[in-house]
Structure formats: C-alpha cells, structure tokens
C-alpha cells in the first residue's frame, strides 16, 4: 500500500513536471521568436491567435501531420532511433531538479517531497550522465541520414559535445566542493539566506559560472555555437533529412535541453528556489504557509532569465568557426575551469580548517 502511494505520488510528480516542461518547450519557441522579433524591429508571429499566442499549437499540428519521410539511402533503424535518443535524455534530467523548497509532506502516512521528483545523492552527476547520451541522437541521426551535410553536422556535434561537456563538468566542481554534495536538493539548500550566500557571489564561483554558461550554450548547440546545424553552411546539419514528428523531437530536445541547463545554472549558481533576500517576501505579508509559491516563482524567474539570455545571445552574436570553437573550448575555457577548481579547493581547505 505504501509502495503504491509512493509510486502514485511519484507518477503524479513526473506527470506534472513533464506537462510543465513540454508546455514550456512549446511556448519557448514562441517566446524565442517574439524576443528575437522585438530585438530585430519586427513583429514576429501575429496570425494565430491574439499576438500569435497559439502559434506553437499550429506549429505542432503542422509537424504532426507532415509526411514522414525516410530517405531511400538512410538506415531506417538508426534514423528512427536518433530522435528518441535525443529527446529522452533531455527530458529525463528533470527528475532531480528541485523547483521548490525542500519540504516534506505526508500523504496517507507516506512522506514525500513534493518539489522534486527524486532526490538522489548523485543528482548532478545523473544529469551529466544523461546529457552526454544526448550526443548519440545527433551523431547517429547525422550518420543514418546518408547525407554529407548531416554527417559533417554529426561529426561536429560529437566533437563539440565531448569538448564542452568536459568544461561543464569542471565548471560545476567548484560548486560541488563548496556544497560538499552532489545532490541538487542539498546544493540548493546550501544557498539559503540572501543572494550573498549564492555560490555565484558567496562562493565566488564567477569564473565557474561564466565557463558553465558558455559551455551550456555550446552543449545545447545554440548560437554562437550552433555549428552542428549551422544553417548557412550545413543546411541544417544533422537534421537536414528529418521532417515531421522526428524533426519535432529534435526540436523538443533542443529546447528541453535549454530549459534543463537553465535549471541547473539556477540551482547551482543562483540558489535555485532561494529568495535573494534573507526571508521570503510573502512571509512579511503574513502568509508563511504560502512560502513555497514564492520559492517556485523565484526559481521560474531565474530559469527564465537564463532562457532570455539564450535568446539575447542568439540575436547578438555571429557564429564561431569550427576550429575557433575547439580552440576556445580547449585552450581558454578548460584552463579557466581547472584553475577555478584548484583555487576553490585550496581556499575551501584553508577556510574549513578547524
């Protein structure tokens, strides 16, 4: 009975998170187009619904009803497998993101944490592990399409993802040293009490933060690191031969990844759901029981700040070249991240010395 309630609660949480994430993905496409349009002096989508608000639904319907094309020279098994391999790792990472305070709640005698699907003690490693699997979707999709542009896109993606994953891993080590835990919940909890306790400021993880944000943009294949799909060079890179729902899967994976890395950035460096002040505003207003609402709002605001950053960067920067990307990753970001790890561990060692 207990197990069933536990499983039921977990399923409810998974369903909630998936619905929120997928809705965010859908409206993120609209948000991106709108933000870009405003930055570029134009209107963006305006036709479907008021201010084009229903555009994502129209897009989704269109992709859903498109003819499903598998090129004649393609390897159909891998060609169909690749979008799934892309989208699953992108969605699976949300299992360990704490999007609200680490409260416990009792339902029929079972204690559950309502604001995180599961709090495993290697949370951040778990996300990294599955993020690294996402590269397979790109590489296999590129190879299976039997198209030279796709192949080149796949190869670029492979090299890029490996290089920048390393930087992501190293950039967050500073935070892990500070928090002494790999659990996302514990990391978020450790930053309570105002923005000067956030690891970005309090832990002086500015270098780590910058390296992480740059690498995260590269990891999600967004401009200026979108070399794998570089529409002016490789047509659409590994997605060139994809259409319909398979293409939609890749698209969803890209946006879900964006949300995921934004969530990680928010949790690791900006305190996750923590308020930037020592107390929650809503407590002063006299509703201490409603604290979690404000916490979720803070988390959302932080995540959307990063998402906006993604759009902003896309509107501003041109694309890097492949060799410049590699040189930047290996010769600039990697030494920076290593130095950050070294300095943080030394400082932490001396500060924590009893």
């Amino acid at each position: 009975m207990e197990l069933m309630i536990f499983a039921g609660a977990a399923l409810v949480k998974i369903a909630m998170v998936m619905i929120v994430v997928l809705l965010t993905v859908a409206f993120l496409t609209l948000a991106e187009r709108k933000v870009l349009s405003w930055m570029q002096d134009r209107m963006g989508p305006m036709e479907v619904g008021p201010y084009g608000i229903l555009q994502p639904i129209a897009d989704g319907l269109k992709l859903f009803f498109k003819e499903d094309i598998i090129p004649s020279g393609a390897n159909w098994l891998l060609f169909s497998l690749a979008p799934i391999l892309s989208v699953v790792p992108a969605l699976i990472g949300f299992a360990v993101i704490p999007y609200g305070p680490n409260q416990e709640m009792e339902i029929f005698g079972v204690t559950i944490k309502p604001f995180v699907i599961t709090d495993i003690n290697i949370g951040i490693l778990y996300i990294l592990a599955f993020a690294s699997i996402g590269a397979y979707g790109i590489i296999l999709g590129g190879w299976a399409s039997n198209n030279k542009y796709s192949l080149l896109g796949g190869l670029r993606a492979a090299a890029q993802v490996i290089s920048y994953e390393l930087n992501i891993g190293l950039a967050i080590i500073g935070v892990i040293i500070l928090s002494g835990s790999l659990s996302m919940v514990k990391i978020a909890e450790g930053q309570a009490g105002g923005f000067w306790h956030w690891y970005l400021f309090g832990g002086l993880q500015i270098v780590g933060f910058v390296v992480y944000v740059i690498s995260a943009v590269a990891e999600t294949n967004r401009l200026p690191f979108d070399l794998a799909e570089a529409e002016s060079e490789l047509v659409a890179g590994w997605m060139t031969e994809y259409s319909g729902m398979r293409f939609a899967f890749f698209f969803m994976a890209e946006y879900a990844n964006m949300i995921l890395v934004s969530c990680i950035a928010a949790v690791l460096f900006l305190g996750g759901y923590q308020s930037p002040f020592p107390h929650y505003i809503i407590e002063y207003l006299g509703f201490p029981g409603m604290k979690w609402v404000e916490a979720v709002v803070w988390f959302t605001v932080k995540v959307y700040f990063f998402l906006f950053l993604f759009f902003w960067i896309r509107a501003t920067l041109p694309r890097l070249r492949y060799d410049q990307l590699m040189r930047f990753g290996w010769k600039v970001l990697l030494p920076l991240a290593l130095a950050n790890v070294l300095i943080t561990s030394i400082v932490v060692y001396f500060v924590r010395q009893p």
């Binding site: 290697i122 490693l125 190879w143 790999l182």
Partner: protein, 181 residues
C-alpha cells in the same frame, strides 16, 4: 526482486557483448556496446553504487564511446567479414570459457565459496555496505581511493599521463610528417 534485476542485467550484458562482435556494421556494434554500458551501470545501481553507475555512463557511454563512433564514422569502415573467418577460434575459446564457468559454479556450490552471488557478497560485507550507504558512496569511494588505494590510484594516473603524452607525440609527429614534401 534484486535477483531478477541482476539476471536481467547480466543476460542483457552477455547478449549485447556478443552482439558487439557479431554485428557486421560497426555502428550497430557501437550501439550494442552502448546498451551494454547502460546495463553495467544498472548492475552498479543494484549494488547501491550510484556514483560508479553515473561515472560509468559519463565516461564510457558519454565520452569514450562517442569518440569510437566519431572514429568509425570518420573512417567510414566498410562491413568487415574477418569475424566470420575466425569461427574456429571462437568456438575453441568458447568451449574453454564454458568449461571454466562450469568449474567455477560447481566449485562454488561444493565449497560454498563467498566469491559467487550478490547475496553472498552482501552477506560477507554487509557492515561495509551499510557504512557506504549511510555515508554516501561518493564519499566512501573518495575516501578509499585516497587512503587505502592511493598507490594504485597514483600509478594509474601516471600510466594515463604517459599514454596521453604518447598520444600527443604521435599525433604531433603525424602533423609534422604531413607537412614534409
């Protein structure tokens, strides 16, 4: 429950390991290897070694195998038939391996050796396992690596360093060689 999981993971590992060498298309082999790595990670999870499981996926599936795939795609290997010509060797080695397995299973049952079976392992090392579970296995692994196994750890690091320098040297030589007329 745990036994079921163990046998599922073990069976899939054996099957995919065979498939890795049996597939004629190197890309399929890489996919089979990927599935295998995942199931090895699953085995680690059943042993409460989540850290190892995650690292297994990050390092092997996420980095090394991607590199394999990269190389396979770059070289654009044709389908290789050499495996089919080594059937004789394969059968011979298979018989030896089978014999070893039968011998081990028999001796385990006869001598009730604790080396076989997860239950036996857990029974023999249960205080340690409990300690690991309470302390968090990441910390336990770090602790073990830097105390008891410090020397092997450093040796392993040194070997990796040598390999890395060697790889750089080899690659560099190739680049320089290409520039010569």
């Amino acid at each position: 429950m745990e036994t079921v999981a163990f046998f599922y993971f073990a069976a899939v590992i054996v099957l995919t390991a065979v498939l890795v060498v049996a597939f004629r298309n190197p890309i399929y082999s890489v996919i089979a290897l990927l599935v295998m790595f995942f199931h090895v990670a699953g085995l680690f999870v059943t042993l409460h070694a989540e850290f190892l499981a995650a690292v297994q996926i990050v390092v092997y599936a996420g980095a090394i195998l991607v590199l394999y795939l990269f190389v396979v795609m770059l070289l654009n290997l044709k389908q290789d038939d050499s495996y089919q010509r080594q059937v004789g060797w394969g059968i011979g080695l298979g018989i030896v391996g089978l014999a070893e397995m039968i011998y081990l299973v028999l001796s385990a049952q006869v001598g009730n050796s604790p080396a076989i079976g997860t239950a036996a392992l857990q029974a023999s090392a249960s205080p340690k396992v409990a300690a690991i579970v309470t302390r968090g296995n990441t910390e336990a692994i770090g602790y073990m690596l830097y105390t008891k196994y410090l020397f092997p750890f450093e040796v392993a690091s040194l070997i990796l360093l040598v390999a890395m320098i060697g790889a750089i040297l080899l690659a560099k030589k190739g680049v320089l060689g290409m520039k010569e007329p």
